[in-house]
């Protein structure tokens, strides 16, 4: 780490923080679905990609004002997420979770193809929600990164409270633990499940709108989802604070790892995850419990 000044370190830290928050937003979408249904959505990255493309359609192609376009995107993606569950995933009710996770892999493949057919396979630029940079001495951070941090903080704490205190939140956990019993309690399992998918698609879209301006919108942008997975796993898959914690850990350590091993940029995240899992095979805030016999 030769020549890494204090300012650089702060800079990297801030960047790591905002990257971590972006990962968190995707991870929250993943964890949400898992926490409420124990389904794993491997297409979450593609939801993000789709959100970015839909935003591109509204804002760039149709020229709507940014915030209106963004809002419409979220509404559209909410409907899309709801539909995915209601029309596709729901048919697998009762199948092992493994089946659902294969289903979403296939869904991801199909969604990438659809996006490519509709919008093309190129790279498209999307305007950022806020322009400009925040400069603190020699440290520079984009306002959009600041926004990402804020949004993540709000979303994560809101969801935490929701699952902790709201009746629907508890009911969602209940249905993930024992679907049959949840049905017996009169919990509207199908509606809640679809709503969760809708919420998760919305968070995906938010991530897409934030990430799109940075990396351009393309059918391949969903692959960043794998890092979000790594983060959520580090935190203990199924816990919202865990997901944020894990993603931040990965986001913050990654740039420092990259500085140390400049020719291996990108694998730091996975190595960190591996190390954490070695020590704690169920992640930092474990969500897997020993069965009582």
């Amino acid at each position: 780490m030769t020549g890494l000044s204090f300012a650089d370190a702060i800079q990297l830290l801030l960047v790591g923080l905002s990257q971590g928050c972006l990962y968190s937003l995707i991870a929250i979408g993943l964890v949400l679905v898992y926490k409420a249904t124990e389904q794993v959505n491997f297409a979450q990255g593609e939801f993000m990609m789709l959100g970015a493309f839909v935003g591109y359609q509204f804002i760039v192609l149709w020229g709507l004002p940014y915030w209106l376009g963004a809002l419409l995107t979220l509404v559209f993606m909410g409907g899309f997420g709801y539909g995915v569950d209601a029309l596709v995933v729901r048919r697998l009710t009762g199948q092992p979770v493994f089946t659902v996770f294969i289903l979403t892999l296939a869904l991801g493949i199909a969604l990438r193809a659809v996006a490519g057919i509709v919008w093309g396979f190129g790279n498209y630029s999307l305007p950022a929600p806020v322009e400009g940079n925040l400069t603190l001495g020699s440290v520079i951070i984009g306002w959009s990164s600041v926004l990402a941090i804020l949004v993540t903080a709000i979303v994560a704490s809101g969801l935490y409270a929701f699952f902790r205190y709201a009746r629907q939140g508890v009911a969602m956990q209940a249905l993930s633990l024992n679907q049959l019993a949840a049905f017996y309690m009169g919990i509207p399992v199908k509606r809640l499940t679809s709503s969760i998918w809708a919420m998760s698609a919305i968070f995906g879209a938010i991530a897409g709108l934030l990430l799109g301006p940075v990396t351009l919108v393309s059918t391949q942008m969903g692959f960043v989802g794998f890092k979000a997975f790594a983060g959520a796993i580090v935190g203990g898959f199924g816990s919202i604070p865990g997901a944020v914690l894990g993603c931040l850990l990965i986001g913050v350590t990654e740039p420092f790892f990259d500085i140390m091993f400049p020719t291996f940029k990108g694998i730091g995240a996975y190595l960190i995850m591996f190390v954490v899992l070695l020590i704690r095979p169920e992640g930092l805030l474990a969500q897997i419990y020993a069965k009582k016999v």
Binding site: Q95, I102, A106, I109, V114, I233, I288
Partner: protein, 359 residues
């Protein structure tokens, strides 16, 4: 309808249940052996791919289908096998006949190490951990400089067994077929003996597997070992089929394809791995036939193949979660009971999910 009478315990242990079954399988084998007589090089090469993928699939089936450990990293093992084999052949001049088993063994040992490390992880954690192994392996091979040929890859020498060059489609076909049959037999043997049962026990209930004496960590690692050996074998064979290998060749996409393959085939069965290999390998061919019949605009638009692949998979998982083999069993049943077949025999009753977060 044929009713099976069991006359001896051996019937349940032997390779084939009865003569009829033995007859059919041997007939298939004969047809496969005779294929070079009536198929041209194109189909032989396609079938070679099927066999190689089926070997890798059997490995993954042992790991995921039987021991219940989901792996997204099978392609990494295939890559290690391919690289080990190629490097042994071209850099150390090891004879082919030794190099291939050696490569499989090396891969197996890597698998064993990983299995040992990952043994405490479950379900999704394991899936993502293995996924990261796939990603990291690709980068490490790419960063391996001259030894691995880096990102630019390595050319693969031809096959030479005791001075006989295996350089024509029908020869590689027969070679691959032989190894494929060997892999099936090994898997079958595993399943009808103690270790195989231990794997299934671990998949269904670790607590009671332990209470019956299974060293769970050991057998999980053993499953990784076997699976990696198969993958390494497939890797060695694939290297020849590819003529030239690069780290990208065995990327994450390949791992996912392998996993999809065994699911489409029918998870948890030997047939599943084989049917899945047929599906994955022959689908592009079938698609390109279908495309000819479609209006030009659809057929030539980018994305068609991916979309079709994704949709077919979706359809499969939605309507036939038991995979091709499950469908096959149903068709088989249909003919067996022919006039009495009732649709509802296979109607799915509602089922409900319970948490898998308890281990």
């Amino acid at each position: 309808m044929r009713v099976l009478f069991r006359k001896s315990y051996k019937q349940d242990i032997r390779l084939f249940r009865d003569r009829t079954q033995a007859f059919w399988y041997l007939l298939f084998l004969c047809i496969a052996l005779a294929a070079p007589l009536f198929l041209d090089g194109y189909f032989l090469d396609e079938l070679s791919f099927v066999y190689i993928y089926a070997i890798a699939g059997l490995g993954l089936m042992i790991l995921t289908g039987f021991s219940g450990q989901v792996s997204f990293g099978q392609a990494a093992f295939v890559a290690i096998g391919a690289y080990a084999h190629t490097i042994l052949l071209s850099r150390y001049g090891v004879p082919w006949i030794l190099s291939l088993p050696l490569a499989a063994l090396i891969t197996g040992l890597v698998g064993l190490a990983i299995g040992r490390i990952c043994g405490r992880m479950h379900g999704l954690y394991l899936a993502i951990a293995t996924l990261s192994i796939a990603i990291v392996t690709e980068r490490l091979i790419g960063g391996g400089g001259d030894f691995t040929g880096g990102h630019r890859g390595l050319p693969v020498p031809g096959i030479d067994i005791f001075g006989i060059a295996i350089d024509q489609s029908w020869k590689t076909y027969l070679l691959n077929l032989a190894l494929f049959v060997g892999a099936i037999l090994m898997t079958r043997n595993l399943l009808r003996t103690r270790s195989g049962r231990a794997l299934i026990a671990i998949r269904d209930s670790e607590v009671s597997a332990r209470s019956l004496g299974t060293n769970v960590a050991f057998y999980k690692a053993y499953a990784f070992f076997l699976s990696a050996v198969f993958a390494g074998l497939a890797g060695g064979l694939l290297a020849h089929a590819f003529y030239y290998i690069t780290p990208e060749t065995f990327g994450m996409g390949e791992s996912i394809r392998l996993l999809l393959m065994i699911v489409v085939g029918g998870i948890g069965t030997i047939h599943g791995a084989i049917f899945g290999a047929f599906f994955i390998v022959l689908l592009p061919t079938v698609l390109s036939w279908v495309k000819v019949l479609l209006p030009g605009a659809i057929a030539t638009s980018g994305g068609f193949d991916s979309l079709a692949f994704g949709m077919i998979l979706l359809g499969f998982i939605l309507f036939e979660p038991d995979g091709l083999y499950g469908r096959w069993v149903k068709i088989h049943h249909y003919f067996n009971v022919f006039p009495m077949y009732k649709r509802r025999s296979f109607q799915r009753q509602k089922t409900f999910l319970k948490t898998e977060r308890l281990k």
